[in-house]
Symmetry: C2
Subunit: 402 residues, 2 copies
């Protein structure tokens, strides 16, 4: 069943010159659908990335971290259905074998091949199956195109109910991204994977800085159930082929495009949250620092009590007060203001006399919910996006392990 919050259509994504895409059905777990994705980028492409903060990362995350310092790379290979996480030395060897096979087939160095795996934890990824699939996968390589992006976005799905893509343009160049998550992966993971490609020209250090910023305010500001994957990875490739050079004077423009793609993809992930029926923006302002605002917003967005109230379309603002309190961040209880949509419900430490429960409930009946909280101790703000917590979440996660 497709999420009720899904976009109507997968977007038309533009080609990025020199970027080649391929998908292939290796049938490592899923049958009758592509489960491998390969992208090849030109020499001298700048590469930046962010990875899960998990202390138990997957083998491909270990592999990528080892090589991302170079700031460059030629390819990325992604498999869906097996996370290659908690698979010990054999799992790491399977990752190395995959990178080496792809490197041989493409005529590049293994250290230039990035890897992601998403799916079941604790099952060994077969090195033989992966290396055997590399040949047919490479045979499928074609210049990137709208159809190619759609196929790629579909190949990396696990329990996602729709494929995720987004693009922006800047100075005659494009920024294109695909992602997966967080219909959490059978059996385990809210794995978020994102791959973003652009033809602007940018040095690797600048790209890494802007990537970290973009991820910090997009992928890292969404939450479905507060769980963190062993495998989260966002990789950004800048080929330079489009000729538009990013420097100090115009980096804001590129940052806006990159942030736009990242945020669009991150929002699509929330819209595919397991069991989600509401897309919720938690907007906190008046905090001491942006980090504090984010932690307060996250405490609200992660609260099972807030999320079940939203599922019930119940303007239960007491649960928001509770979540602000538990965040541990400075908040002035007697200056706190809470509104659902435009309806101000609580202010100055008490319920607003004569607030309309009906208007607040009306807002909650929609699919797009705004919870606005002013905490009254400063000027910093942050937004975290989440979804509601429904029986659907329990059905999916208490009912299913393949």
């Amino acid at each position: 069943m497709i999420s009720p919050l899904a976009p109507q259509l997968f977007p038309e994504l533009p080609a990025i010159a020199g970027v080649q895409l391929a998908t292939f059905a290796a049938e490592l777990r899923y049958k009758g659908r592509p489960d491998l994705f390969l992208a090849v980028v030109p020499a001298d492409t700048a590469v930046a990335a962010t990875f899960t903060t998990s202390r138990c990362p997957s083998a491909p995350v270990d592999w990528c971290k080892k090589h991302i310092g170079s700031g460059t790379g030629r390819a990325v290979v992604v498999n869906a259905g097996n996370a290659n996480a908690f698979t010990g030395a054999a799992g790491y060897e399977a990752a190395v074998a995959t990178a080496e096979a792809a490197a041989r087939a493409l005529g590049v160095a293994a250290s230039e091949v990035y890897l992601s795996s998403t799916g079941v934890i604790g099952e060994l990824l077969s090195a033989d199956s992966m290396t055997a699939a590399i040949g047919p996968l490479v045979d499928e390589l074609t210049e990137s195109s709208s159809d190619g992006w759609a196929s790629a976005a579909n190949a990396i799905r696990t329990t996602d109910t729709f494929a995720k893509g987004a693009s922006r343009t800047i100075g005659g160049c494009s920024v294109v991204g695909i992602a997966k998550g967080s219909g959490m992966i059978a059996p385990d993971m809210a794995t978020m994977l994102g791959y973003i490609f652009t033809d602007v020209s940018i040095d690797a250090a600048r790209l890494q800085r802007l990537t970290s910023q973009a991820v910090g305010t997009s992928f890292n500001r969404v939450t479905v159930d507060s769980d963190t994957s062993t495998s989260d990875t966002v990789l950004v490739f800048a080929t330079g082929a489009g000729g538009h050079e990013i420097n100090d004077s115009n980096e804001g423009e590129f940052a806006a495009a990159l942030n736009g793609v990242a945020l669009d993809l991150a929002h699509q992930i929330v819209r595919d949250g397991e069991g989600a029926t509401k897309f919720v923006s938690v907007n906190v302002d008046g905090a001491e620092t942006e980090a504090a605002a984010e932690r307060i917003a996250r405490a609200i967005a992660d609260s099972p009590l807030v999320k079940t109230a939203l599922a019930a379309e119940d303007a239960n603002w007491g649960r928001v007060v509770m979540a602000v309190g538990k965040s541990g961040e400075a908040a002035d209880r007697d200056a706190l203001r809470i509104s659902f949509g435009d309806e101000l419900i609580a202010a100055e430490g008490v319920a607003v006399p004569g607030y309309s429960e009906e208007r607040a409930t009306e807002h909650l009946r929609g699919q797009e919910i705004d919870i606005n909280v002013h905490v009254g101790v400063g000027t910093a703000s942050a937004t975290v996006w989440t979804c509601d917590l429904t029986h659907g979440y329990i059905d999916i996660n208490a009912g299913y392990r393949s």
Copy 2:
């Protein structure tokens, strides 16, 4: 519906000489049942307490914090149905009025009267109703008895499905406690309230230290859904009337009795977790510090993915790996060991060859679940207790606000 994890009977709790108890139906919210509890203790009783860490505490928590430094007190008044939280200056005035009315009726100072309120957030507690109820409440005072403790434990219930009590004996004295939680309170709060009485003789500073320790390893080590109340309060009263004096040489013995009562009550709160069908002990060892072990155990116990797997009786150990990873604490992925009950499932960074999924599942079919995790970086350990996450939780919290 009573929780399937409830004890068969409320325990027989002994009298504590000089401690008087009363309950009364003020009908502030609930009809046809007592909703006020009063305990009066002799002069020179030592008092210790711990309170919620919420940055938005309720008015009675503010009141108690103001007076607990004295280390003494004569009474506690508790109302169920209204949390008197987020009620501004008027809420605080209602708390003061309640304490003053009780003080007048009992012939003690208002600063010697502690208060707790549990229930709906953001609705003003009527000072008139509270002060009017104090007279009839005081009229009900009788020496503590088994029946009195049972009535008191019932009067402080909100959505609890059973009353909670526990006792231990030490050197001819007793330690008796009652508690409420965490059938979270309509509409909001996982409020935990605990009141413990003993007739040992102990100075207030020692009692506070031992109370903080006891709460740290009991009430603070249970979690139903990771949410934190505005109102959590544990108060401990030591009358000294039993003559058994606690000093450096025998404090361990008293600490064991106090910890025993606190842990028993805390476990009963988990057994009344909303929608709970499993009582789960998450035991972490091999950590760098006890605090690290607790945070890892809490990451597992709070994970919606782990809790839904337990509800499904699914030995989904990959979700435990994920939770260890997300805790942010040091853990050696390649030395990690995970067992469900006695069945070792993962060790040395991989699934144990030939582990029995069937035996692990058999353990999960019971009502008492042990998840044991060795993280391989030290010698410290901690246990956190929780319950599973079921449709019942969603039903209760997405369906109900009175």
